[in-house]
Each structure stands twice: as C-alpha cells, then as structure tokens.
C-alpha cells in the first residue's frame, strides 16, 4: 500500500466532488436549514418526553442532550461520506459500472467508500460539536487529557461500526441487486440512537446491542462523556469496532467473487 498515492488520490476526489456539489448552491443552503430544523425537532421531541419526568432510563435531560449531540455528529458524517458513496454501489452494480472500478489500480473498497462527499453534512457535524460543548458546560464536565483521548477513541470506534454497517448492507447488493431500501431500513433503526438505550424495554435493548449495535454507537460514547462508563465497556467497543471493520472488509472481498457484471 502506497500511502502517499492514496492521499494524493483522495485530495483529487475531494476536489472533484466539491466542485460538483457547489454547482447547486441553493441546495446547500436548503440542506443547512434542514439540518438546523432537524436538530430543533429532535430536541423538541426529547423535551416532550421530559416535560413531566425528570429522568428517562436513568438519564436527565441535560445528559440526554449529549446523546443527541453525538447522534448529530454521526449523522453528519453519514450524510457527508457514507450516504453519497454507499448508495452509489447499488448504481454501480445495476449498471455494471463496477467493472471500471475493479479495473483501476487502486483498492476497490477505498474507491467506492470515499469517492464522493456532500459538504452540507459538515454543518451537522459542526452543530453536533457545538451542542456537545454546550453539554460540557451545563453538565460541568472537567476536561483533561484522558477524558479527551477516551472520547476520541469511542467516537472513532462508533464511526467505524457505523461505516461497517452501511458497507455490509450495501455489499449485499451484489446478490440482491436492489437494496436501495435496505439502507433506508438501517437508517430507521439508527434513528433509535437518538435516545438512551436504557429507555427501551429489555428485549429491545438486547436487540439493539447484539443484532444492530446501536448501543455501541451512541450510548457508550455518551457515557464516556459523562465519566460514567466502565473501562471494560470502552475496551469492548474497541473490539467490536475492529471485528466489524475486519469482517466488512472480508465480506466485500468474498462478495466480489460473486460479481458477474451486468447482463452476463
């Protein structure tokens, strides 16, 4: 693997896709408003849950806002990178253009996962970070180096898990051809990540930590933020993230063996 080559190619990707997206300037403005409204909406929903209750699943309103912040950041990342790229896999496979990707002398997973970028997702990431900063203030969290590294590690792990989930689902397109909506199903499940896992019933909690690891994606990083998380949970998250990344990679290479181009 030639790292410099890949960095070089990635800057080219950035350049072309930004140029492409900036064609539609009003679109970006509308997307910004959408992101802000969406955050206001979910805080509004949270405030409905808390209007007569002090805690939900052991979380106070100020603490639940942290989950909201982390969800917003992750959603921004999904909208910036995962959504535009991984929905493209479906198109590649349907139209047979995956051939051109496979013939290129670079890693196909790299090409497919990072080709495009949607800049309007950046605002969501920024909004999420602001919300988190506000949460740090109202929850009186003192920041030190250990805290920061732990937060960063868990959030990076969440991003890895999220990416692997998206990539898994998109890879199944090689067999089913039309899994456009499978990502939509994943999206609706991920929606649950806006709320603390403890607010669900026991069976759903099991489902959301074992089958679809939403617990790992938002709840554990939020616990780390509050300094509530035990060390083994963080370790577990790192292991889960590694397992997900490696198996999604293996799965892609396995799936490619079954790829037979379009109309052949």
């Amino acid at each position: 693997m030639n790292l410099r080559k890949y960095i070089n190619i990635y800057t080219k990707f950035l350049h072309t896709s930004l140029a492409c997206e900036l064609e539609y300037k009003t679109n970006i403005l509308i997307d910004l408003i959408t992101a802000i409204l969406s955050l206001i909406g979910s805080i509004f929903l949270l405030s409905i849950f808390f209007q007569n209750n002090n805690t939900i699943g052991g979380w106070e309103f100020e603490q639940a806002l942290i989950i909201q912040g982390i969800y917003t950041i992750l959603n921004g990342i999904t909208n910036t990178w995962f959504n535009p790229n991984l929905t493209e896999i479906v198109k590649h496979i349907r139209e047979g253009t995956l051939d051109f990707v496979l013939l290129k002398p670079i890693d196909s997973q790299f090409f497919i996962s990072l080709k495009k970028i949607t800049p309007s997702g950046f605002l969501e990431i920024i909004l999420g970070i602001f919300l988190l900063l506000y949460c740090i203030k109202i929850n009186q969290i003192n920041i030190n180096l250990i805290f920061l590294t732990l937060c960063l590690i868990t959030i990076i792990c969440s991003i890895c898990i999220l990416y692997s989930l998206w990539f898994f689902i998109s890879t199944t397109t090689i067999w089913f051809v039309k899994t456009w909506n499978a990502t939509e199903v994943l999206r609706s499940f991920l929606y649950i990540g806006r709320f603390p896992l403890n607010s669900f019933s026991f069976s759903l909690r099991i489902f959301f930590s074992v089958v679809i690891p939403i617990a790992f994606i938002t709840t554990i990083p939020s616990e780390v933020f509050l300094g509530l998380s035990q060390f083994w949970k963080i370790l577990l998250e790192v292991i889960v993230a590694m397992v997900f990344l490696i198996s999604s990679r293996k799965f892609w290479l396995f799936a490619l063996k079954f790829y037979s181009s379009a109309s052949s």
Partner: protein
Amino acid sequence: MISNLIKRKIFTLLKVQYSNMLEYRVEIALWAISGIIPFFMLNIWTNNNLNEYINISNVMLSRYFLCAFFVRQFSVVWVVFSFEEDSLMGKVSPYLIQPLNPFFRYFAQHLAEQLTRFPFALLIATFFFIFNPESIWIPNFGVLLLSVISTFLSFLIQFLIQSIVACLCFWTEKASSIERLLFIPTLFLSGLLAPVVSFPEYVKSWIYLTPFPYLIDFPANLLSGNATNISRGFSMQILWILLLFPLFKKIWSNGTKKYTAMGS
C-alpha cells in the same frame, strides 16, 4: 362517453402500475419495514410510563401508534423523487405530449404501491398483536370507513404538497432537497413520533391550524378510538386540499411553459 374514457384510462393506468409494483415486492416489503419507528417510540412511552401524564392508557397508546404506523404506510408520498429523476432524464417530454396530466401516472403509481404494501403492513401488524395481545381491537364499520377516508385525504394533502414541490423542478432541477426540508416538520409535528395531545401548550395553540396534525395524528386517533374532533379534522383536511389544488394547477401551468427538455 367522456366518463367512460376516463374510467378506462384510470383502470388501465392502475392495472399497469400494479403489475409493475408487484415486480418489486421485496423492495416494497423493505419500505414497509423501514416505517416501524412508531413502534420504537411506543416502547419509550410505555417503558417510562410517560403516557400517565397525558391520560392515555398503555393499551390505547399502543393502538394509537399501530394506527399511526398504518396511516403512515398508506400516506407515504415520493412523487418528487420520481419526477425529479424523470425530468432530469428527459422522460417528462413524452409524458407531456400525451393527453393526460403526467401526475395521474404518478398518482396511479402511488395507489398501486399502497395496494402492494397492504399485505406486508398486515403482516407487521400481526407480529405487533402477537407481542401485544391485549391491544387487539376491532373498530366498527363506520369508524373504519371514516378513517380510510381521512387517511386518503391525508395522502391527498401530502401528494399535492409534494407535487407542488416537484413542479419546482422546472426551475431548480433539484427539488428533492426542498422536500427533505418539508419532511422535518412533517416528521415531528404530524404525530408519528408522539401524539399531538402530548405537545406542550405553546405548540398546541397553533398547530391545529397547520396541515400537520391532520396527516397522521387525526386519522390515527380516529381509527384507534382515541378522542379527536371529527368534524374539525375533516373540514381542515378538505380546506387544505381546496387551498393546495389551485396552487398546484397554477404552478403546473407556469412550469410547463417554462419547461425545456434537457439538451435543448
């Protein structure tokens, strides 16, 4: 003679679109699954006893969310996405020559899709009843009829709003981002995630003047047997349709004058 012709047109359109939709059963099943968010919300509500404060029993609330799921299933509209693709690809041009407004075609597509969806929605409801046997109920025929009508009216409102947005394609090419913007208030204010009765007073004071509560909250309350103002609900739905329809006609006639096929 004329009515016979219209009847034949509509019947043929529906038949063609239904067989078209049946081709993509799995896709539609996945769409149906992606609509299960109301059930997760129900889980948060009942698991934290939040419904005690709004005086709705567990059973009534679970019926409400089940009905919200159903109403949503049969009022999902995606015309703007189809229209955007068709107009970018230049497929609208042949449609415009035909002696039939292209929106009839999309309308038939939606109806056909709902028909295909129906068995999947029933299946999901059956699972719901297996897990919550106490919430089984049979609405009487009059209520059922009224709620089917109100669901259809809700579908019509959303179809009109989205068609108006779709017509903006004539000016901006990418109208789907406007639709995503409009989807946010629809999501949070329509009662899909929380019944409108639970909203704080400062929202309740104006929300009944907007179309949102009549999209899901009103039909769902009607069907599930929760308290709702039937006459106000229907009159507001009809009022909104009467307001939106002329707007759609206006924007359609202006838009088609503006239309230039791609590459001209």
